[in-house]
């Protein structure tokens, strides 16, 4: 369970101060999948990164499983983070470690004794069907496989929450489906709460229970994905739901049209 209350994050950008996340409230029930969607710069990454305090909110409260994170000292926060998995767009695996060693790193960080680590590594890799690739370096894996190793790494410490920032934005459509299937399975079988950031409506539609639509740092609308027809209220939701790419007339075409008319 995650509860964000009134979280705000400001940055100093190139043209002065900007509010990346503006007074957002978000409640994610235990075991659900929360989608976060919006255009580039809407503040999605900043929002999800505040859940594990990679980004510290200027104001507001961050509750994970009932525990307030913003007031924890460094050591407690560190221990808390071992129970919040995170998956990134660019996978962020260590290139000089094998798939197995990458997963094991998470266990070493959590202080697990060597004796139990091997079994846990095998277990986590088995969840994403990569047990046989434990000895492979990331350079020998496809994009989809790398992301699955990253998911295994995020799961290794049996987290209650899995944060995914555009986990499918660097892989092809078929691999997207594979990755989403694993995430769905993890959510259903292990009961892990998932927050998934994306700019593709089809991605959240495939797995989320609820989608928060973000624009200019604010959550402007929630779309419930319970099977009933979607009724977007905002312009941006309608745009995101429309999967056709409408380019509109180009300048050249417009000029031609004008010439024909005049």
């Amino acid at each position: 369970m995650i509860t964000l209350t009134g979280v705000t994050k400001r940055f100093t950008g190139p043209d002065g101060p900007l509010t990346a996340v503006d007074n957002v409230d978000l409640h994610v029930p235990r075991g659900s999948v929360q989608g976060v969607i919006g255009f580039s710069g809407a503040g999605k990454s900043t929002l999800i990164r505040m859940i594990n305090l990679l980004e510290r909110p200027d104001t507001g409260s961050v509750l994970v499983d009932g525990e307030e994170l913003t007031t924890l000292d460094e050591e407690s926060l560190r221990r808390r983070r071992t129970k919040i998995g995170m998956v990134f767009q660019q996978f962020n695996l260590l290139e000089n470690l094998t798939a197995g060693q990458n997963v094991e790193l998470a266990l070493r960080v959590a202080g697990l004794p060597k004796a139990v680590r091997a079994a846990r590594v095998a277990e986590a890799l088995a969840v994403v069907d990569l047990a046989d690739r434990a000895g492979s370096y990331p350079s020998k894996l496809s994009g989809g496989q790398k992301q699955r190793v990253a998911i295994a790494r995020a799961l290794a410490n049996e987290p209650s929450v899995l944060l995914c920032d555009e986990p499918t934005s660097a892989v092809d459509p078929r691999t997207t489906i594979t990755v989403l299937r694993y995430l769905k399975e993890i959510n259903e079988r292990l009961g892990i709460t998932i927050v998934l950031v994306t700019h593709e409506m089809n991605v959240v539609k495939a797995i989320a229970d609820d989608v928060a639509v973000m624009e200019d740092g604010k959550v402007v609308e929630h779309l419930r994905l319970d099977g009933s027809p979607l009724q977007p209220r905002t312009e941006i939701s309608r745009f995101l739901l429309d999967d056709e790419l409408r380019l509109g007339p180009t300048d050249v075409a417009a000029a031609k049209e004008a010439r024909r008319a005049g």
Binding site: N52, R80, L94, L105
Partner: protein
Amino acid sequence: MPGDGGFARVIDVLPEMLAALGETGLMVLITVPIAIVVAVPAGVLMWVARPGGLRPAPRLYLVVNATVNLVRSFPFLVLLIAMIPITRLIVGTSVGTLAVTVPLAVNAVAYLSRFVEQNLLQVSPGVIEAATAMGASKRRTIWSVLLVEARPALAGSVTIMIVSFISYSAIAGLVGGGGIGDFAIRYGYYRYETAVMITAVLVMIALVQLIQLAGTLTVRRLDKRL
């Protein structure tokens, strides 16, 4: 009579040349470990303390950064002379192979620190972030993530340092440091024994090629990206 010995002279001076090679070896053996032991932490310190780093400490960064630049801005010959009082303080004398290792080490530390810092900056910030998200402490992030990912590049930097070192050690000959470079200068420049000098230069070429080969092989073994 000096200057017209030809290659037959090479046989005569062979023991001296081997001794010179030994001196170069000694300089490398003393200086390289010192450089690594000091420069790697210094480079890590700069990486950690830099603005936007893992634990920014602007003033500390400024001091280390400026010190590294200061040492690097000295031409080595000037550094060698300027350091004579310090060298005397540390090894008791300012001439000889041992004495020369002091400015050599200081020079090597400055260069290698900068190389290390640059190598560390090449490590993907995403990987560092993943470590933080995992709950890794700063110490863990440095040891188990940063240095692991930078390892091949660091081996490359150490190789470059050792090679440039052989050239610096020749200048060290001016204060009686000895070594193969000094040997080449003595025979070629002061005594016009061209054949001896050429032989010494060939030995240095072989030495550098060998070190570079060893370095390249090490990097290749460490680097798992391909």
